[in-house]
């Protein structure tokens, strides 16, 4: 790019138009050109490269003539007069040159000029100077200050806010590869016009971030576009259009320049935009689109995404896509409508791995129906189990939906001709059924299954179970599943002998699963032998079934075999024993917890924690004695889970007595257990230790108190907030205090204020104050409003949290908050 000659004083005309595209509109020939002055000459970005792009973008519209000034500090009052709009691609951020010092006359001339109906435009970092000149900053809309930051450059989709503006009117969202600023310090009165959600995988915030603004101050207009980190980003057609339209608006208050015809609504990547209908071409791009999707928003990416996903169905890529989609389900930043789309897609590509994240949605009233949709279509027992489990606790509407879904899963109707099934009679004969099940006619086959399932008898079941051998794998599976659903124990011996004879691992997995459902102690030996097979799927199925087989007798049988198993199988079996939660296994697991094998020890300690109830706290304490130091964290968890189970007071005396003689390595473990017990006596232990001279002990006591979340502890916590010798612990105490108040369902406002007010005085930084504000938001009291106001006045950085707390308190008080002051607050 040829730079034009400098025009003295300090200004050169930019003569790029000849080398660039023809004007887009004929406006230039009719209306006089708008005059723009671009400030540059210093910038922590590559201003020598980017300035020509800005100049080109403006001139290419045929609407502007553009001059450039490179000596901003040397600008004099008279310089502004000819220009309709000043565009800043200048800053002094991190520069060795000092911030420009305009004398009062130049400042006044600038403000007077802009306020007479003209505009200031900020590009990317173009407002990172004149920090202490509020009138300039107000026109600049926002700046990099007080925690503004950014992640890595990546492709992302920018959407427009609901704010009406001629600049964005009629524009669609667009994709751009750029650096996305986060937490821009927004000037009072500025309207946010566009946002983007920088992706966490590129060190982005994962939150919507405002990145384009406009403002009107005293007759002048300001427009700020924080996109455009480099030439590549500035070459994006949407960036150029927004710069052109924003500059025209700043100059005139109106927009006549049309948006780019190659608007990048779909395909990301500056410079490789293919047109308006392009859409996500990769899974990563689709994920970005889904993240940004909201009800009634642009669906183009979803429509294309559906094809992308359908193409991967049934392949490893599909499984990968399913996992990536399912990961969005737990993300609170993703909209319900986007999650609904994810559920619909998981109908097609979801597998066992997606059952858990989907099942988690079954408790969400807005998404439960969608989760049921997906679970209905996902094959395998895990999905059916998740549906059955959810059905038990759900309200009647959802229960009915789940019942329909399960019915369709088990009998994918339409495939069965009821009249055919009727042919088997009221009590279907096993011989006839077997003949039909061996038939190649799918209708007959289905009908036989339907007849067996709907007119079920134990006798027929036993007969079919003993004839499994000659049946095809899917027939075997179907028959076994019907029997398993009936919890048919009469068929158990036949199933066991068929299972033992089964050679095909896939079929073996079905046997194993069914035995988990109907098996008792007699199934244990078979299931244990399956632990040593090489197929991990079979092993996992065996572990799951060993967990499910009924009866203490089965537990005892597993325990008896434990020592005979090869060491590498023992951890899995110990895990199973933990999951069975049968006290009959406690002695054996405690013994295994002393094993020389580290794996076995770990699994055993975990199992102890699952099985043990408080009455066994003493037994566990005995086992801990002499345990290797490496195991202590595991023991800590197990002891806590035992202490927190059942009658929680029962274990406290044992803990108290152990505490009185405990060495330093045991104190934290015991205190954590006391916190888990959380009863009055246990809390007394914690309170005592909060007075300990040992900082480490006090820290553990505080953490354990945080686990108890008991309002009884508020005064102790408050004391620690104000008085603990360690600043770190004072902060920790404050967090626990705030957590306790937030968790308190029956919060007493008077008491809360009594601890929060002094805490506010003791708070050492903005984070502390945020924690206090979070708790204050739950205090139903006029006085709380005053405390919030005081905190905010002392620390403007917490203004957003303060206003959230204020809004909450008003809600609790059932009062309407007073209107916000209409005029923008001064910056100082």
């Amino acid at each position: 790019m040829n730079l034009p000659r400098l025009v003295r004083p300090f200004v050169y005309s930019a003569l790029f138009a000849a080398s660039c595209c023809a004007p887009l509109s004929g406006a230039g020939s009719e209306a006089p050109l708008l005059r723009a002055l671009v400030l540059t000459g210093d910038n922590n970005h590559k201003w020598k490269e980017t300035t020509p792009v800005i100049v080109d973008a403006l001139k290419s519209t045929g609407r502007f003539s553009v001059d450039v000034v490179e000596d901003v500090p040397g600008m004099k009052p008279g310089i502004f007069a000819p220009y309709d709009v000043i565009v800043s691609n200048y800053n002094t951020y991190g520069s060795k040159r000092a911030e420009p010092v305009w004398d009062e006359a130049t400042k006044t001339a600038f403000l007077d000029h802009i306020r007479a109906g003209r505009g200031l435009v900020i590009v990317h970092a173009g407002s990172s100077f004149f920090y202490d000149w509020p009138e300039f900053q107000a026109l600049a809309c926002g700046t990099w200050k007080d925690g503004t930051n950014h992640g890595k450059i990546h492709d992302n989709r920018v959407t427009f806010t609901a704010e009406k503006s001629p600049v964005t009117d009629g524009l669609e969202p667009f994709w751009i590869r750029d650096e996305f600023w986060q937490k821009i310090k927004v000037a009072p009165g500025a309207k946010a016009l566009a946002e983007v959600t920088p992706l966490a995988e590129f060190k982005g915030s994962g939150q919507p971030e405002q990145i384009m603004f406009s403002t009107e101050v005293g007759g002048g207009r300001g427009f700020a576009l924080f996109l455009g980190h480099d030439v590549a980003a500035m070459s994006n057609p949407a960036f150029q259009s927004l710069l052109q339209r924003g500059t025209e608006w700043a100059a005139t208050g109106k927009v006549t320049i049309p948006p780019a015809s190659n608007w990048p609504s779909g395909q990301p990547g500056a410079g490789e935009v293919t047109g308006a209908t392009a859409a996500p071409a990769t899974l990563e791009q689709l994920i970005v689109f889904i993240r940004n999707y909201k009800y009634a928003g642009d669906r183009s990416g979803l429509i294309e995404g559906e094809k992308l996903l359908a193409h991967t169905a049934g392949t490893p890529e599909g499984a990968k896509a399913a996992a990536a989609l399912a990961a969005l389900l737990g993300d609170p930043a993703v909209s319900d409508d986007a999650k609904e789309f994810v559920c619909t897609q998981l109908r097609l590509i979801g597998g066992e791995a997606e059952v858990r994240p989907l099942a988690a949605l079954l408790k969400d009233p807005k998404l439960a129906a969608s989760a049921v949709e997906a679970l209905e279509a996902i094959p395998g027992p895990a999905a059916a189990r998740a549906l059955r489990v959810a059905s038990a606790g759900s309200e009647s509407g959802l229960k009915a939906q789940i019942a329909q879904a399960l019915k369709r899963r088990e009998n994918p109707l339409g495939l069965v001709k009821p009249n055919l099934s009727a042919a088997f009679g009221e009590s279907p004969d096993a011989g006839l059924l077997l003949a039909a099940l061996r038939s190649s006619d799918p209708d007959k086959w289905n009908a036989a299954l339907l007849a067996f399932g709907s007119r079920y008898s134990s006798k027929t079941a036993a007969r079919l179970a003993s004839s499994l051998k000659g049946l095809s794998p899917e027939t075997k599976e179907a028959v076994l599943r019907i029997i398993a659903d009936r919890r048919e124990t009469k068929a158990l011996p036949a199933i066991l002998s068929a299972a033992a004879a089964e050679g095909d691992p896939a079929a073996a997995a079905v046997f194993i699963e069914v035995l988990g459902g109907i098996g008792d102690a007699s199934a244990v030996p078979f299931l244990l032998t399956q632990l040593s097979t090489s197929d991990p799927k079979v092993r996992d199925a065996a572990v799951a079934s060993l967990e499910r087989v009924r009866g203490t007798e089965a537990t005892v049988k597993i325990v008896d075999t434990l020592d005979l198993l090869p060491p590498e199988s023992q951890p899995a079996v110990l895990t199973v024993l933990g999951l069975r939660r049968d006290p009959a296994a406690l002695t054996a697991t405690l013994a295994a917890a002393k094993s020389r094998d580290k794996e076995i020890r770990g699994a055993a300690i975990r199992a102890v924690g699952k099985i043990a109830v408080v009455s066994q706290v003493a037994g566990i304490l005995a086992a801990i004695e002499g345990a290797p130091a490496d195991d202590l964290p595991l023991w800590e968890k197990s002891l806590a889970s035992a202490a927190g189970a059942g009658d929680r007071n029962a274990g406290v005396p044992a803990i108290a007595s152990a505490l009185s003689t405990a060495g330093p390595e045991m104190v934290p473990i015991l205190l954590t257990a006391a916190g888990a017990a959380g009863t009055g006596d246990a809390l007394v232990l914690l309170r005592e230790k909060l007075q300990s001279p040992d900082e480490q002990v006090r820290r553990v006591a505080l953490s354990a108190m945080g686990r108890a979340l008991n309002p009884v502890l508020l005064d102790d916590l408050q004391e620690a907030v104000s008085g603990d010798a360690s600043p770190v612990l004072r902060k920790l105490a404050l967090r626990k205090l705030s957590d306790t108040l937030i968790a308190d369902e029956a919060l007493d406002p008077g008491r809360a204020l009594a601890v929060l007010e002094p805490s506010a005085t003791a708070a050492s930084d903005s984070d502390d104050r945020r924690a206090i504000l979070a708790a204050l938001g739950r205090v139903k009291s006029e006085k709380a409003l005053e405390v919030v106001a005081r905190i905010e006045a002392a620390d403007p950085a917490v203004a957003p949290e303060a206003s959230a707390a204020t809004a909450n308190i008003y809600k609790l008080l059932k009062k309407i908050p007073p209107p916000k002051p209409a005029s923008p607050q001064p910056n100082h």
Partner: protein, 441 residues
């Protein structure tokens, strides 16, 4: 469980009467015919479910038939119920029973037949409930919202012997019948290929939530569909045509008409596997989200190709006749073509259109009053003008085409096993999840 007043014995007895009736003098009864009304005890008691625009249109047709006694109106929307009741009042001078919930209405033993003109998402649950209650069913096209729902309807109708007539109504139009006679009679030669087109869904529709109108039971309106925020357009007929919550869109809603004509003309049971491939367009914003355009090539098992497309591509492909109607079906034969739409018929040889067609055709069953024909079938338990089997055949083409354009994948469909042969994973989409306690399969 209730039984129809027309018992099996009456049915068997009536069969001969019906056969006699068709053999000697086919009934010709048009709306407002002057034939003396039957005594009330012999009239067929009809329940009208869904009293929106189309429901009220059907009501006008049935109210004029002396064989019909409109015995009940059912709609969760008070506005529609009242408008329909005004029609009943005008015809009978008195009101009939009025219901909000169809299950309550179906429990009424005196009802013989139901006419269903609800949004599509309700069809399956209502047909199945009506068949279980022993009623004859007239259901508006398209059939239902999923391939499995269709099959469940087919099974229920077949195994119960229920009377079911698919509400496509064009088989009682003389020009449609003429086209089919020309095809089946071999006038156009051997059938070589078909063009079938229909208008696509509209885009747009309001997404802003509004309060549910006080006279609308929104839960019942939504029924087995997804519960959504109520918007102004969602609760209109357009909402029920174009929102994927309630319909496949016009690929089925309007496609049903020209596809039914195609099926009638092809005279094939379409039992062999067939392949579909193509593409389509969906609205990227607004309330409506079903296909606005599609362009799907189908290859039937006997090598017969069908080109199924929307009005957009139609302007490109249909250069042999005026595009003066929303839909159309063209049969291309070895000797020429005939193309038919509601109210118009074109042929490569205009002389064919003057061929006199005998009243009692050997090729097709033709009755000029589609609604009277349904009442006749109800009374005598005879087969209907458009059977559930034909409904399943034509609606499957819409469902599969929609699946092709949604997923971008070519599909091979096996009607015999009622499964997608390839790509197999798509079989997971054979059914549609539903909300609430209503059984839709």
């Amino acid at each position: 469980m209730t039984k129809s007043r027309f018992s099996r014995r009456q049915f068997l007895g009536g069969l001969t009467k019906a056969m006699l009736a068709t053999a000697i003098a086919p009934r010709v009864l048009s709306s407002g015919a002057s034939a003396a009304a039957r005594p009330a005890s012999e009239r067929i008691n009809v329940l009208s479910i869904g009293t929106g625009n189309q429901g009220r249109d059907l009501l006008s047709n049935f109210l004029g038939l002396p064989d019909c006694q409109l015995a009940g109106l059912c709609d969760p929307y008070g506005k529609n119920r009242n408008l329909a009741m005004q029609k009943v009042q005008a015809a009978y001078g008195s009101e009939c029973k009025s219901y909000v919930d169809f299950e309550e209405a179906l429990a009424e033993p005196s009802i013989d037949a139901v006419v269903i003109a609800t949004p599509d998402h309700w069809h399956s649950a209502m047909i199945l409930a009506a068949v279980r209650a022993g009623k004859a069913v007239y259901c508006e096209k398209p059939l239902a919202l999923s391939l499995n729902q269709n099959r469940a309807i087919q099974n229920a109708v077949r195994s119960s012997g229920a009377v079911f007539q698919y509400g496509t109504m064009q088989r009682s139009m003389p020009n449609i019948r003429l086209a089919v006679e020309l095809v089946r009679g071999g006038v156009i030669g051997d059938l070589k290929r078909l063009d079938v087109w229909a208008a696509g869904s509209a885009s747009g529709g309001s997404t802003a939530e509004i309060p549910v109108p006080p006279d609308l039971d929104y839960n019942l309106y939504t029924g087995p569909a997804n519960m959504r925020p109520c918007t102004a357009d969602r609760i209109t007929n357009k909402g029920s045509w174009y929102c994927s919550d309630y319909a496949l869109g016009f690929i089925a809603g309007w496609g049903a008409h020209p596809l039914d004509v195609a099926i009638w003309g092809m005279d094939s049971d379409l039992s062999g596997p067939y392949e579909l491939r193509g593409s389509g367009k969906f609205p990227v914003s607004g309330l409506y989200d079903t296909a606005t355009d599609w362009d799907v090539e189908i290859a039937f098992a006997d090598g017969l190709p069908m080109h199924f497309f929307s009005r957009g591509p139609a302007s490109k492909y249909v250069d042999y006749r005026p595009l003066d109607t929303g839909d159309g079906t063209t049969f291309f034969g070895t000797k020429g073509w005939v193309s038919v739409s509601r109210g118009v018929i074109y042929a490569s040889n205009p002389d064919w259109l003057k061929i006199p067609i005998p009243k009692a055709s050997e090729h097709v069953v033709y009755k000029p009053n589609y609604y009277q024909a349904f009442l006749d079938s109800t009374r005598y338990r005879t087969s209907t003008l458009t059977s559930v089997d034909d409904a399943v055949r034509s609606d499957a083409i819409s469902h599969l085409s929609n699946l092709v354009i949604r997923t971008g994948e070519p599909i091979v469909w096996d009607p015999k096993t009622y499964q997608i042969r390839s790509p197999k994973p798509l079989n997971r989409l054979m059914d549609l999840p539903t909300r609430g306690p209503w059984a839709t399969t």
